[in-house]
Symmetry: C2
Subunit: 375 residues, 2 copies
Amino acid sequence: MHSVLCDKLGIEYPIFAFTHCRDVVVAVSKAGGIGVLGAVGFTPEQLKEELDWIDEHIGDLPYGVDIVIPQKYEGMGDMDPAQLEKELWKMVPEEHIAFAQKLLADHGVPEWPDGTHSMGLLGWTEATATPLLEEALRRPKCKLIANALGTPPADKVKMIQDSGRLVGALCGRVKQVKAHKAAGLDFIIAQGGEGGGHTGDVGSIVFWPQAVEAAEGIPVLAAGGVGNGKQMLAAMAMGCAGIWTGSLWLTVEEAHAEPAQKESLLKASSEDTVRSRSWTGKPCRMLKNDWTEAWENADNPKPLGMPLQGLVSGDGIRRTAKYAAVGECQKVAFNPVGQVVGQINHVESSRAVITRLITEYVDALEHVNSLMPEA
Amino acid sequence: MHSVLCDKLGIEYPIFAFTHCRDVVVAVSKAGGIGVLGAVGFTPEQLKEELDWIDEHIGDLPYGVDIVIPQKYEGMGDMDPAQLEKELWKMVPEEHIAFAQKLLADHGVPEWPDGTHSMGLLGWTEATATPLLEEALRRPKCKLIANALGTPPADKVKMIQDSGRLVGALCGRVKQVKAHKAAGLDFIIAQGGEGGGHTGDVGSIVFWPQAVEAAEGIPVLAAGGVGNGKQMLAAMAMGCAGIWTGSLWLTVEEAHAEPAQKESLLKASSEDTVRSRSWTGKPCRMLKNDWTEAWENADNPKPLGMPLQGLVSGDGIRRTAKYAAVGECQKVAFNPVGQVVGQINHVESSRAVITRLITEYVDALEHVNSLMPEA
């Protein structure tokens, strides 16, 4: 398909697959799209291991890495990660930790083996994100870096572009599109409120064309609500240069998630998701469950901001992932996913998903052409 | 354009324009779409006057009428409208009326000339809606009836279809699509959460294709977020039979709104709307302002259900409409509109809107065709 990003990246279809699973990255790139590994949640050592594996299995094909490089937190820019984490923990009220721990205990979620209640800051701060970025930039086949939250700092943009890679970032508001453009990004991921993970509240059908207009020629990838080829055609009709998909890859054959977690996703309808601040501190779309409801209840503690809420919830993320099928784990598990989850009802291979998207796309294009009166 | 509804209605483009202004109804039908008059808010006498005017000015072209026929309220089905209203008022707490009146007074909204604080039930109940429906069915050029909220009762569906007209209804959830289909409706209006007025929370890009699938062949009109031809092409690509637009017509030349109200709409961005229960009791998208915020505040009374909240807010609707430019009226005015409002920034004629939609549609279709590799 003709698309400026296909040409720049040497890929067949402008289908970008965000995933935390290295197997999916490889399978998507091999099927003609491009896999993008979400690196948040990995330590630099873990990321090295994942990228080694990808480099070994992907042949000569390109892939991408997605990180979160927030702007520096006020007054803390020069701290090392351990010191920063210590300072941040001081700002977390005891009440919040106790509430989170009680929610997990009440649902029979086993303790982490070493009995600790913190998984640390992960890649949520600039200090922890930089080593991840550096690891990615050591890989010649890693051809793009995406920032999942906000405009990356200027020095990071320069570092990525100087290395010959493309850099892009997600956003959900027109003013963020403009900020991304002003920062000189190579592409912009415009995510409508339907999307999974951190998301705004303007719907894709409204936001995409506004983003394309505000980007003034910078390629825009459509995110939020794309799970079939009709939706992909809709995105291209509105001027997008491709699609950025995430939810679609959570339940594919190659995805590593626990069966209980895949099952929760496969049976969910589009009405079963909610935008909630209860895990990361920022509005993030995920499956609605006891955890999200509990943090909405007016009698309970309110979610803290980012990154503090992440400290509160981190233990729950790892425990509900590890013990996904134990007790009522799924009722307090973190399952970020978009409304498109309602149209994903069975397991497919990654290749089958790409083939389906393209077949449906071509069919939909034929359909709209057939609606035109004969010239 | 080829569309089953174009053929059935004898119109050129499958563009349905919902509006409360008779002038817009006529202008849209004359430009090749079909105008649909929103009758809620009119008394039967007022509706008669509007339809007389439309019949006189529209030539031989078709138009539609949109009403709200809710299912009967429990135990009240047999009351006449005056008695029903009296019973309903008894259920409204004094606190709510006082709160609403204070909000209006605090913003300098003048009292209604006769000093009353109620505008009655309007067309929100079956008892008040039936005379409106009967008035519409006396008009040979009125070719379709749409129900704005829920599946119409079976006797009304039969009445409309027996008269040779098409009947359809809005919805925002797959289970409502199925209920509409089961009731034998002729078309279904699938509105994504971006839409103005009563709306669900699943985005258009996700909901439309699900609605088309659930409708199993019944034509689906795409509503929620369609304001340009690219968005219209997106809707058609997802299998819709046409578009149902509302926000687009609030600010056209022919629309009767007060200049202050049009101004509020023209300057609003897509992020300036909110889904709120504060006017009708059901989630309804509108411009965010002091009124919507006040009813969200945890310290204030919570919105009642439908139709009770409508009794509380009705006086505000008429006063802020009549005195749109007085004091801070706009800050407590009812301005139902979808997120698409952000792309409507200047006044156009209704004909220019239709022409623009079609031109943009054709351009977008050419664009997506140009992306395909040469066969």
